[in-house]
Symmetry: C2
Subunit: 233 residues, 2 copies
């Protein structure tokens, strides 16, 4: 099964028993902030946003959840972020109770989840590096690079097409501004600035063609470069 590829056959059979596929339309809230959801999920298709809801009703996006990612909490205790569907999403859900019981029985699964979590933590720290860039255009470049690295094998998000790299921006400019800690207008200007420099070309607001990967990496701070061994230059 996709989220658990690499695990032993009998374990996967057990997991399939407690797994339920679900589909939600765009703009659905899958998990409210503070809610003690009774499952965690794996994304097969679609994009979701992790969001902190403020007291005044506004929200701050703290991350995206895309194909191949997992979301939700393994243990009880209210979720510290809300999970909202950006597009229609189809997911696999695993009830927490049975899953926890399975973990208790299977050191293999326990260990597997531990490593997933450590990878998550590393990725979150990588993202922090992007956010620490002072200029918006640098953070935007960082976002594009992170997208490439993380979803390099998700064909409809990142596609290498006869020498040119095409990236699908999975969220609106408004959400992107929240994610990057700035405003819509600044995001727009940053796109324009990168385009003017000949680094990217915005075919549509949601479809970016990267014309100069090397300079995009430089713009992003250069420090993510060593993560891009799999990315052709």
């Amino acid at each position: 099964m996709e989220p658990f590829s690499g695990l032993s056959q009998p374990l996967i059979a057990e997991l399939e028993k407690i797994c339920a596929p679900m589909t939600y339309p765009a703009e659905t809230t899958l998990i409210e902030m503070g809610e003690t959801s009774d499952y965690f999920g794996y994304v097969r298709r679609g994009i979701m946003r992790m969001q902190r809801i403020h007291l005044d009703g506004t929200g701050q996006i703290v991350g995206l959840v895309a194909e191949g990612d997992v979301f939700g909490s393994l243990f009880e205790g209210g979720s510290k972020v809300a999970i909202e569907a950006v597009t229609e999403v189809s997911i696999l859900t695993f009830k927490r109770g049975p899953f926890e019981a399975l973990m208790a029985r299977s050191a293999e699964l326990d260990h597997f989840m531990l490593q997933k979590l450590m990878a998550d933590l590393d990725r979150t720290r990588d993202w922090m590096l992007v956010l620490l860039n002072r200029k918006v255009s640098e953070r935007l470049a960082g976002f594009l690079v992170v997208l490439c690295i993380r979803y390099a094998n998700v064909d409809h998000l990142v596609r290498w097409d006869n020498g040119s790299l095409e990236i699908k921006v999975p969220i609106s400019r408004c959400d992107l501004a929240s994610l990057l800690g700035t405003r819509v207008e600044s995001v727009s200007r940053a796109f324009s600035a990168l385009a003017k420099k000949g680094i990217i070309h915005t075919k549509t607001p949601y479809l970016i063609e990267v014309q100069d990967v090397r300079r995009l990496l430089e713009e992003a701070g250069g420090e993510l470069t060593n993560r891009v061994t799999g990315l052709r230059t």
Copy 2:
């Protein structure tokens, strides 16, 4: 044993066998970036910084490690951050090999580590919220609040003294600037601005008296407020 309080007695006995106390002077590099350290550690005393070293030799601080925190990687694979002592530190080290073996035998320990990691992830996302603030003074206020919440019970870092809250800033202005994604001068100005507003008073550069906790929380974005139930107002 401190880092594992709550675990069963026999398990703790096993852990004590593979534990070694160490002390390092200030400005020591405990773990280089990319190094596959053979242990992970628990901090008993002192402050360390997590740092990403750039190709040009400059560093970007991505977090602090203080009393009660753990650091280093549970599994093999080069560390993605360097760990450097800011002050003299005394730590407990656990060799990775034996520890991993113990985890494989003990679901209790495995589960314990899983929960520690999830807490770490939540804290990292909290910190991201701070970094997403646009103004430096807001990020600085956020830093102070996070410090209070995280180390409320570490007496020499956060002390509530007959109605006034005293916070020890554990790092230099220069390191603080890196941590907040800005420059030394801006940090200095942010301290001055908060002081001018009557929110804080800088007794020394390393000793801050908070005069108006409520307004400090507001300045920090207000959204961390619900984490501060334990903090008197």
